[in-house]
């Protein structure tokens, strides 16, 4: 019953706040236009995949926008917890809001990129199966990064500190990837690495599940 109420409330929140939707569309358009920059029909499938899923663009534009979207929408009412008699409602709201925001951002981003690929006549060179799997990995990565940021907010009570720590951690992993060490967060940016072969999506799912469970613990102990 409580879960149903949380789902309904989050969905209504998402539909009601048109400003957030506009913000997500703008963020997705900005990031997608950068991803599509330099696309042309003469690119090979491999080069096309690397251009669209360029890891530096994701570090500098996409992930910061993801984090900003997650952290600006991180608001809850202590009244809800009092009315339901449990803080599980706050945790549920947080997780669902994160899920909705990140999924919407990714859907808009994918649509804009698809538009860019069609516009440049390069869609036929893209391996759609591989691109689909990469988008799935990206979605799971987004969820992991955002849930880590949420966990830090619940622990540190500072959205700025959460943003900085999460982004610095992602930047550190980026530096590792550049140095040749495969990092899970940037697994989507490479067509095939030992990490991807080992089932990066499962690892990401497991880690996200762990962080979300820890978030429940942190929300239960959070001073409202």
């Amino acid at each position: 019953m409580l879960t149903k109420a949380i789902v309904e409330q989050t969905w209504r929140w998402f539909l009601w706040h048109r400003r957030w939707q506009l913000w997500l569309v703008l963020a997705a358009a900005l990031s997608a236009s950068l991803a599509c920059h330099g696309l042309h029909a003469s690119l090979s499938g491999y080069a096309l995949q690397n251009t669209v899923f360029d890891r530096f663009q994701f570090l500098v534009v996409y992930f910061p926008l993801c984090l900003v979207a997650t952290l600006t929408t991180d608001t809850f009412r202590g009244l809800d917890a009092a009315a339901c008699g449990t803080r599980a409602v706050l945790w549920g709201q947080r997780v669902l809001r994160l899920l909705v925001t990140q999924t919407a951002l990714l859907i808009w981003w994918s649509l804009f990129v698809l538009g860019g690929l069609l516009w440049t006549h390069s869609l036929r060179f893209l391996d759609l199966g591989l691109a689909g799997r990469t988008v799935l990995t990206l979605w799971l990565t987004q969820l992991l990064v955002s849930s880590c940021a949420e966990l830090l907010v619940a622990t540190l009570h500072s959205r700025i500190a959460a943003f900085l720590i999460t982004w610095l951690a992602v930047a550190g992993l980026f530096a590792l990837t550049v140095a040749g060490v495969p990092a899970l967060i940037f697994a989507f940016a490479t067509v095939l690495t030992p990490m991807r072969a080992a089932g990066d999506q499962l690892i990401l799912l497991g880690l996200t599940g762990f962080v979300v469970t820890t978030l429940r613990w942190a929300t239960a102990r959070e001073a409202l």
């Binding site: 900005l30 236009s33 950068l34 920059h37 500098v60 534009v61 910061p64 926008l65 900003v68 952290l71 600006t72 959205r159 700025i160 500190a161 943003f163 900085l164 982004w167 610095l168 930047a171 980026f174 530096a175 550049v178």
Partner: protein
């Protein structure tokens, strides 16, 4: 009037920003020290070729200059956002007037941002004098760092008076850090969300990066602050473009502050 704002500066956000800036700067210092220690001869290197703003072979300077808009804005933007939330700004406006309060916050924020980033860069730069001899860079011996007129402003000054060039670069970086902090402070008059206020400078930089890629200037001259805040960038630079972007951002910040100050003053007096 300005004493009032300086007295109200909170120590924690200032320390957080400064610690993070210093942490990134120290990582670059440590990395460079290890590189210097590994080399058999150090006499081609000098502080002018190895310090944070000149380091072209590491990811750390890129990260530093990407994060500057956020870290420089934290102390000033947090102060005004908190004051707006507690309605302290309304009390101030009623006693001192909207414009004076708006400019007070703006100047405080600008100085805080400039001092934090400028201070960190100065410490990093002078720290390298502890490791390396004070040698003037040579166009041929230091060809690897590729300092030329396309990617460095006032390149003649770099080879003749490198200390002045480095100090001028720090001054430019400090000015732009102050501008980012001022932009976040000016946006605070319109935004209710404290996190979004602090991140406004970062979003401005991301927007400029996107604009630079999608609407390039002739010869692909970069107008992204993270490029021209460095002493030598990995992009084409032009003094006129830097001056133009600076003037535009100054005008935008001044405009936002004036409108914000007047609107809030009107609200307070109503």
């Amino acid at each position: 009037m300005s004493h009032l704002f300086f007295r109200r500066i909170e120590r924690r956000p200032v320390l957080l920003s400064f610690s993070l800036l210093m942490l990134i700067s120290l990582i670059q210092y440590g990395q460079s020290s290890m590189q210097i220690a590994k080399r058999s001869s150090v006499f081609h290197d000098s502080p002018y070729t190895m310090w944070l703003s000149m380091d072209q072979f590491s990811f750390i300077p890129i990260l530093f200059f990407l994060l500057v808009p956020l870290l420089a804005a934290i102390p000033g933007a947090t102060l005004i956002a908190k004051d707006r939330q507690t309605r302290f700004t309304q009390q101030l406006i009623l006693r001192r007037g909207g414009m004076r309060v708006a400019w007070g916050y703006l100047v405080t924020s600008f100085l805080l941002g400039a001092v934090l980033v400028g201070g960190t860069l100065l410490i990093n730069f002078f720290g390298f004098f502890l490791l390396l001899p004070n040698l003037k860079p040579d166009f041929f011996l230091n060809l690897n760092i590729a300092v030329m007129s396309q990617d460095t402003l006032w390149v003649g000054l770099y080879y003749t008076h490198p200390l002045w060039h480095a100090l001028a670069s720090i001054l430019l970086a400090a000015t732009w850090s102050g501008l980012f902090a001022s932009f976040a402070t000016a946006m605070a008059w319109f935004l209710k969300n404290r996190f979004l206020t602090v991140a406004a400078g970062l979003l401005l930089q991301i927007g400029l990066m996107a604009a630079n890629l999608l609407l390039p200037l002739p010869v692909h001259v970069s107008f992204v602050p993270s490029d021209f805040m460095r002493e030598s960038a990995g992009a084409t630079l032009s003094g006129a473009v830097v001056a133009g972007v600076t003037v535009i951002v100054v005008l935008v910040v001044a405009g936002l502050t004036m409108i914000g100050g007047r609107v809030r003053a009107y609200e307070s007096n109503r």
